[in-house]
Symmetry: C2
Subunit: 466 residues, 2 copies
């Protein structure tokens, strides 16, 4: 993978900052090789670039203190949640301090009447949902991994149910953030909407730790639906499946999830989970609402499937059957890896207008076949976002080169269809070369904002605006 130009290391500053942090925080600063490697990029074959030390912060005040120390010595700070990001966000290309926020994991307050809560950044989405369950509430964003909510905000994460509930962009009311000079600011009050000045909340969401370090989030919650139902339906072609998706969205059917699996992914799931699904394009759906409305939604989607050539349509509102219907999706990642034992995976993340989804997926399948790359495809079809999971032999450099070429080809394909190179994973290091191609001189505005908010480039340098 091409990384950006190497960033210079400030050896003296790093040594000074490490010394102060060690003296002030003792064992909460760790400098062992293993722990530093674990806090750098581990999830794809972007190279691991460890920080010089890992600091475990316990409070906003401590984060501010660490930032001030690093600011005084011009030392990079790389915020770390659970390390499940996919584009090298937690790498330290110029060294510095990895700031682990995992110990800041308290649910500070829940306001059931307002459907919101305040959490520290290290709270994971599963932890929050466990905390909320008794109150009949949930936080809907589900990127797959049990990521930290701070990290999810930082990468503007979304996942399977964005089609109904939106992304992190839509479900954060306010942030508390430590700026590059150590000041602590709140971006908004707790009202559900506001027109009070620039939307700093949205500016910080998706800024990948380059503009500020998120130390608290006020999140929007939703009432647990009274009823849920799941459905699956096979289609003769990707195009037929995408037509069903388009009709579903057009008629305003409030599907909670509508996921596409391509034939190769279904085949992988059949093998891995002992299923016998037709090995062609498959849609998996989830409906939320009252008993009556989920049944109505399922029937309406059944009608759409009929119109668009769907077959083997099945739905159920019963918990066990629901799980069985969604088994293929739950197992998709592990099933894909099992296609090629010993492989490492790289997930692409383009997102296009849904009218172009079918043609883009089909072109992608052809290209992968031409290149001899094994890569099942899953898509958040309602959003036009699809992932190819490239299964790579870690030692096969020729395959890596082909994969690199494919990733570039795919970004170009998305751009040619007015789409984006990243629907939900972010730019990080891995996609820096594509951002300018996608947004042209708008990237200079991003650089101007970065320079205004972090003039010494100490906050997660080498990401987004590198």
């Amino acid at each position: 993978m091409t990384l950006t130009h190497p960033l210079p290391r400030n050896e003296d500053g790093i040594a000074a900052a490490l010394g102060i942090l060690k003296q002030r925080y003792g064992d909460r600063l760790q400098t062992g090789t293993d722990i530093r490697a674990q806090h750098a990029h581990t999830t794809t074959w972007i190279p691991n670039q460890p920080a010089d030390g890992v600091m475990f912060a316990a409070s906003t005040d401590e984060v501010a203190d660490v930032v001030r120390i690093c600011a005084d010595h011009h030392v990079p700070i790389i915020p770390f949640g659970t390390g499940t990001s996919l584009e090298g966000h937690v790498n330290a290309p110029a060294g510095g301090i990895s700031l682990d926020l995992g110990q800041m994991n308290n649910v500070v307050a829940v306001h059931p009447q307002d459907l919101d809560c305040r959490v520290q950044p290290g709270v994971t989405r599963k932890q929050l949902n466990t905390h909320l369950r008794d109150q009949g509430l949930f936080f809907p964003i589900d990127p797959g991994a049990d990521a930290s909510l701070g990290g999810m905000a930082a990468t503007r994460a979304s996942g399977t149910n964005a089609v109904r509930y939106g992304t992190m962009r839509d479900n954060v009311i306010a942030l508390e953030v430590v700026l590059a000079d150590g000041r602590v600011v709140r971006t908004a009050r707790r009202a559900r909407k506001t027109s009070a000045g620039y939307d700093l909340t949205r500016l910080l969401i998706g800024s990948e730790g380059t503009l500020g370090i998120i130390t608290e989030l006020t999140l929007r919650l939703h009432g647990l639906p009274e009823a849920m139902a799941s459905a699956r339906c096979s289609f003769p072609t990707v195009e037929a499946a995408c037509n069903a998706v388009i009709l579903t969205i057009q008629m305003g059917l409030p599907v909670a999830r509508i996921e596409l699996l391509d034939g190769l992914q279904v085949k992988a799931c059949n093998a891995y989970s002992r299923l016998s699904l037709p090995e062609g394009p498959l849609l998996l759906l989830e409906f939320h609402g009252s008993d009556a409305s989920v049944a109505e939604q399922a029937r309406s989607f059944g009608d759409i499937a009929d119109e668009t050539g769907g077959f083997d349509f099945a739905w159920s509102g019963r918990a066990e059957e629901r799980t069985a219907l969604w088994q293929a999706r739950h197992d998709a990642y592990w099933a894909a890896l099992a296609l090629k034992p010993g492989c490492k995976a790289l997930s692409t993340d383009v997102c296009v207008p849904i009218s172009h989804l079918a043609s883009c997926v089909t072109a992608t399948q052809s290209k992968l076949a031409d290149l001899g790359i094994t890569a099942p495809i899953v898509g958040h079809a309602g959003d036009g976002n699809f992932h190819c999971l490239l299964l790579m032999d870690p030692d096969d450099t020729a395959e890596h080169a082909r994969a690199k070429g494919f990733v570039e080809w795919l970004a170009d394909l998305a751009h040619a269809h007015d789409g984006t190179c990243t629907g939900e994973h972010g730019i990080g290091q891995g996609k820096v070369p594509f951002l300018e191609a996608e947004l042209g001189s708008a990237t200079s505005v991003m650089r101007a904002i970065k320079a205004a908010m972090d003039p010494d480039n100490i906050l997660n340098p080498g990401k987004i605006v590198a």
Copy 2:
């Protein structure tokens, strides 16, 4: 109303820019007194501060050209849509050029499969919805006035159906913007979601013309609901009505609108529209969905109303009856004005967490009574946003002073309940003093961004970050 400190006028630059624009654009630059006054603030008793000339732009290239001319001569540019904003946004406190975008009113493209469209900034929301109707689509944001979509984006407008469809923040996919140096940038591609770098789209939405001039919008559309139903229900107290709202939101009932009118507003509507509604707190609702689902929603709300002490509940899915049920809301503004013939109105705009809505509305009613100010209240109750329409004698300076005190008191009340001084009208000139109270040092981040993107402060100076 307290305005910010007077801004210095750059007389030489203004004269030079007017000369160049006149030569280049002829009659599309207007300098008459009336037209300049009409292009400055006219909607409340914030003083009218006209620009030195009004330029009618016909294209993005022309906007860029005008901005370059003004940039060369350090002359303010004040973007103008329909002039329906409420906080002095279109005033020219340092003179300069009012840039009227009303002639840029083409719907550029509609993509029904993707549920999006591209429009020029002068297209109004009603014009767009007329254009879309045949295709079974609509754009939901309804701030009351038939505002331009560029202006609605610039002020982060919302209105009666934000509770279901969100605000302008949620319904803009991408913007084309002319920056302070005349460069034209696009903030995003057309995909429904993206994690590609800083969210410049959201940064521009609500920036009130101070960071860039919106020259095209890519908007998210929605399918026209198959069925609609309306309902109304009276309540013994504001608190009972708000409890009904809270339960409605908590159970996830997807109401399209849920509006609160206080007793005085209902009384005004009875008089104005010859209705005989109980003259106490009233909720008006709208439901969108299938025939079955709107009926289910109406019945569910009826149950909630029963639980919370509601009475005179009525609902209907028939168009004429729907209109009749909502008559009070449609006429609310004119009915309020008729309470005090010859008055001028000033609308407040606080927004609080909905658990605090009842206590804030009740405290507000008491305060208004203490001050002897006539001000009916309407609220977008599902969002916690309510407006007092202060009916002022234009010649009564003592009343103005009391009103000014009330507006400050109300902002303090909202802040004390973790709310905002503006849910949807924006900061403009009128609320500049409250922004720092609301967000503290976050306003310094706003100023840093403003300085980075508009170093000479030529884009709508004196607004938000004045």
